[in-house]
Symmetry: C2
Subunit: 150 residues, 2 copies
């Protein structure tokens, strides 16, 4: 089984390489609750040592689905579809998704998704604690002096 590895690290960052997204099938996630391996799923938060953000990647084979609904306790999720076509369900709403579909789901939303096409689907899922964001866009950032390395 492939593992994501730290490539570079410093006091203020960690950098990893997960490889080409079309090769995500080489990863497998040992699901601690389902007690089975989920092929094509990779979580990177712990290896990145992130303290506010969890990120996962998933490649879904043609005509595959997540055969259950799930909700969250404290974490908001944002689903980002970067390849393929399928459907997404939250509570009693079902809608089509494709490259460029992005869905925010509140913790208690009951969600599932499927790849109902003849091509692979690739998605990313972001998690963070609900009601913690203080600023959108660039308002938390500020320019700093320093040498830009070449």
């Amino acid at each position: 089984m492939k593992k994501a590895m730290i490539k570079s690290e410093g006091n203020n960052y960690s950098a990893i390489e997960i490889g080409k997204l079309q090769d995500l099938a080489e990863y497998s996630f040992p699901h601690p609750k389902l007690r089975q391996d989920v092929p094509g799923k990779l979580f990177v938060g712990e290896i990145l040592k992130s303290t506010g953000i969890e990120v996962s990647f998933q490649i879904m084979p043609v005509n595959s689905d997540i055969p259950f609904l799930h909700s969250h306790t404290n974490q908001e999720e944002v689903y980002i579809f970067i390849k393929g076509k399928g459907q997404f369900q939250v509570d009693n709403d079902l809608f089509d998704i494709q490259e460029g579909s992005i869905i925010r789901v509140a913790p208690k939303g009951k969600r599932t998704w499927r790849n109902n096409s003849d091509n692979i689907m690739i998605l990313m899922v972001i998690q963070a604690k609900v009601d913690t964001l203080e600023n959108y866009n660039v308002l938390d950032g500020f320019g700093v002096s320093g040498e830009i390395l070449k």
Copy 2:
């Protein structure tokens, strides 16, 4: 200028469509601090009504850079490169990046990046408040009953 629009919405979610990622150049971000438009940059948190996560997308032309370093006040960032090749700098470390490079940067890290190749580069940037995440991977989630719609 292209704008991301809400496609579907409910009590527990908002879904938007931003289109094909290779067409991100059709978006432009009116930067409130630089007081100029940044072409190829799109923030989606506010339109998603997210409360814990900001997400932005950026397409960078061949041989282009961010000509300044920046830091953050309270927000951790995770940079995810999904197409292209270039370089990323945090503080005094400079390293190569490509599809599948993922970098967590703490608020005070001084960061910049460049596309030093002859192809476009596409990246995503996730922001959330530092030190708020309670659980990695699936530990915040739980299966729920309900009808899976077809």
